[in-house]
Amino acid sequence: MKKTLALVLSLVMLLTAATAMAATEINYWSVFTGGDGAVMQGMVDAFNASQDEVIVNHTPMTADDLYQKIPLTVQTGTGIPDVCVVHIERIPNFVDQELLYSYDLDLVAEAGIKQENYNQAAWVKSTIDDEQYGIPLDVHGYITYINKDLFDQYGLNEILADGYITFDEVKWAGDKAKEQGFTGKTFDLGWMRAQMLGYYAQLADGHKLTDDGVAPALDREAMKKAMETMKELYEQGYTTTKTDDYSSMFYGGELLIWSEGIWMKAAAVDAGVNFEMYPAVCFDPATCKEWMSSHNFVQFADEERTEEEDLAVAKFVNFMGENSLVWAKDAGQVPAHVSLNEVAEFASMPQAFLADPAREDELAIYYYLHWGLFDTAFSRIGWDFVDGTIEIDAAIDQVLQEVADAIAAQ
């Protein structure tokens, strides 16, 4: 009897101990589904292997899917992820809809998260009414790749001397290469929304999308000039066409200058192309800007989330920041955790110039309450103004009208 009792008691104690030591499980949703998805999964696995207090379950999905699902999930109150990666431009609207919780800065400091550890351009953009809603993982943007072999072959390197490429230099390079028998394209028109907002930021003071914080507004002359420049390049035959596979063309030596996201660096390395990275093509080097964004860790509203889970999330987020060298190396991003800036391996990477604090003004991160509506409306006219499907003035009017009408009809 005593033996049985002792056995039962020891079993109970074991179970109690096991429960006490049970790891905190947190659910993490991200917008990484391509090559960066595999890198992110590797980072999550590394975190899970590094300790036994927290287990992170990673659910990747496309950004479109996440932005459609998350408000509905928060609305239902079930299955809300404990932590989620979203683009920084989305944060103001989520805050306005009261879908996000702000971080308890004292709590996250216990895990090592402090403002001074992060890229300030990204950190301050997710500070709203003195509350911190996002912790940046990286900054990323649309920049310029050049095919070094082609540049060497056709003697185009002089345009790279000052570290910037202007639109006039793009034309000059294209003409010079063609004179020597180059049959490919000079410059690509890729993800038009990202590309155009970079050029618009160069021309419009403060890259505004609104005057009063709510209604959409653009600096029409700046946007018109950016659009006319693209249209002119297209009509003069310098650019790719709508259905050209511009990435493959760059890898295959059929494209001189490739306007792309820094996240394509790993793919370019895999393709074996000899390339260099530069800031976005600009009108004037003095006012050069790139469209930038930042992946931010946020916590959506969930009544049932405990403080223990919040702390587990903070530990995870801090680990991701401190160990994001692989994010720079394999996913091509610029880590937001400033400790990485001092790592020699990162400093030697081609995208490292974006982490230079002196260039902080070049990073055009947009901030607008109705960014989601603007993004949809602007993305729709993406190519239409280039090939003449729609006039430039009408395209600008259409974007502004569409956003205004959507706000009114919501």
């Binding site: 709508k242 993406g382 499907t389 959507a406 009809a409």
Partner: protein, 447 residues
């Protein structure tokens, strides 16, 4: 008064009482407790809670029970009032389990503002739902109707009961899911068309405002989108439907001649119908690729199928390829049932192949032809996947169809009221066209 009439009265009482029934909600924020009451009909149209889907089922069943009891069909009436009782009872159970019902949040927030409590959404941690006395009376009335209206349970009656109820048992499961997951959302969709709604908060009834904008406000985005989307959809239907009839008919005729290997070809032609729209469109995307696609390579041209007007050619080819198989099978079956003696008689009269086709084959295929015409028109009016995956949502003026606008406005932009109004207009167009075609079909049959 007979038991049937009492039961009928109680079933009617359920419907009447429902109009006065209501839910209550209580919450405490910063030591301030507020309570609100919301009428059941208003809650029903708050479009915010899954258990609400059970109410239309309860109402439909109660109406059916009332009609059955009036006609003294006690057993049938009892069955329907039982369904109504269970549906309404389940609604009450599930609803009371929801700790933070979004339909109740708006009036609760208003009550808190009235009580001058400064709060954020997150401060409202728990909204306790409840029901007023009329709601319980509503449930009791239908439950009593079920009990009082029961039939005679003698052995003989049980046999009749079984016979009477068997058809309902067959259609019951389908009817259940049809009412909850199809009819009710469709009704809610129509209701949403008369509201301003962002999907998250309670819709605000605005009457005909959305339709006024869609039909008369020529400066509005949605006015332009409706016209452009509907016109592009109609263009696609006019271009695609003839081929969706002619191509499978030609293939069915060819296979009907029993050429060597006809079974293999039949399977090959049918195969695309089994594929998902994503598979089909992604495959054809490569086939039509401007640089590496086999179409341009084979034809030796440099056509850009992703730009209008060639986009329409691509969309029609892909759609016909995808839809041909299922229509072809219907035609094959119709061809097999054409009486051979009619062909023999035509041969004796000296008719050639073409004359036989027009004077024997086609007249015998009127019904399947009209049927496939109606289904093809309805299917092509609902085009979405092909343009969305093949060309994306660009070329706004050129090839965006109405369903793309509807989806984008409701899901991505949360302009759910306006996009529901657009969906209602699309639905009405399909209904009108289908009605005309059905009338033609009936007339043809009578002739």
């Amino acid at each position: 008064m007979t038991r049937s009439k009492i039961a009928a009265f109680l079933a009617l009482a359920f419907i009447v009482l429902f109009c006065f029934a209501g839910v209550t909600a209580t919450t405490t924020v910063k030591d301030t407790t507020v309570a609100i009451e919301m009428g059941m009909p208003k809650l029903l149209f708050s479009l915010s809670s899954a258990p609400l889907l059970l109410i239309p089922l309860a109402l439909v069943a109660a109406v059916a029970a009332f009609i059955a009891f009036i006609q003294d069909e006690k057993n049938v009436g009892m069955l329907f009032s039982f369904v109504a009782t269970v549906a309404f009872g389940l609604f009450m159970v599930f609803f009371s389990m929801e700790q933070k019902n979004s339909a109740l949040y708006t009036p609760i927030a208003e009550a808190l503002e009235l009580a001058e409590v400064k709060f954020k959404k997150r401060d409202v941690k728990l909204i306790t739902p409840g029901f007023n006395i009329v709601t319980y009376l509503t449930l009791v009335s239908i439950a009593l109707s079920c009990v009082i209206g029961h039939g005679d349970f003698s052995k003989e009656r049980r046999h009749i009961l079984k016979r009477d109820l068997l058809p309902y048992a067959y259609i019951g499961p389908h009817l259940f899911f049809f009412i909850i997951f199809f009819m009710t959302p469709a009704i809610y969709g129509v209701y949403a068309a008369f509201t301003k709604w962002d999907l998250f908060t309670e819709p605000v009834f605005t009457g005909l405002e959305n339709f006024k904008t869609l039909f008369f406000d020529s400066t509005n985005t949605y006015y332009k989108q409706l016209r452009n989307g509907l016109w592009n959809t109609i263009k696609f239907v006019l271009m695609c439907v003839p081929f969706c009839i002619i191509v499978p008919l030609s293939l069915a005729l060819a296979l009907n001649a029993r050429p060597k290997g006809n079974k293999i070809f039949q399977a090959l032609y049918y195969l695309p119908s089994l594929m998902s729209i994503s598979t089909v469109t992604l495959t054809w995307r490569y086939v039509f690729n401007t640089q590496y696609g086999i179409v341009n390579k084979f034809l030796g041209v440099d056509a850009n199928f992703f730009m209008p007007p060639y986009t329409w050619v691509m969309l029609v080819i892909v759609t016909v390829w995808w839809c041909t198989g299922s229509t072809m099978v219907i035609y094959q079956s119709a061809l097999a049932s054409v009486p051979q003696d009619q062909y023999e008689a035509a041969s004796v009269d000296g008719a050639g192949t073409i004359q036989k086709f027009f004077n024997v084959t086609l007249p015998n295929m009127t019904y399947p032809l009209m049927y496939t015409l109606v289904t093809s028109v309805v299917a092509q009016f609902n085009i979405y996947g092909q343009p969305d995956i093949l060309v994306g949502f660009s070329n706004a003026e050129a090839n965006s169809v109405l369903l793309q606008y509807i989806y984008e406005n409701s899901v991505k932009k949360q302009v759910a009221g306006m996009s529901s109004a657009m969906a209602v207009i699309l639905g009405l167009c399909i209904m009108v066209v289908s009605f005309i075609q059905m009338r033609m079909m009936v007339k043809n049959q009578q002739d």
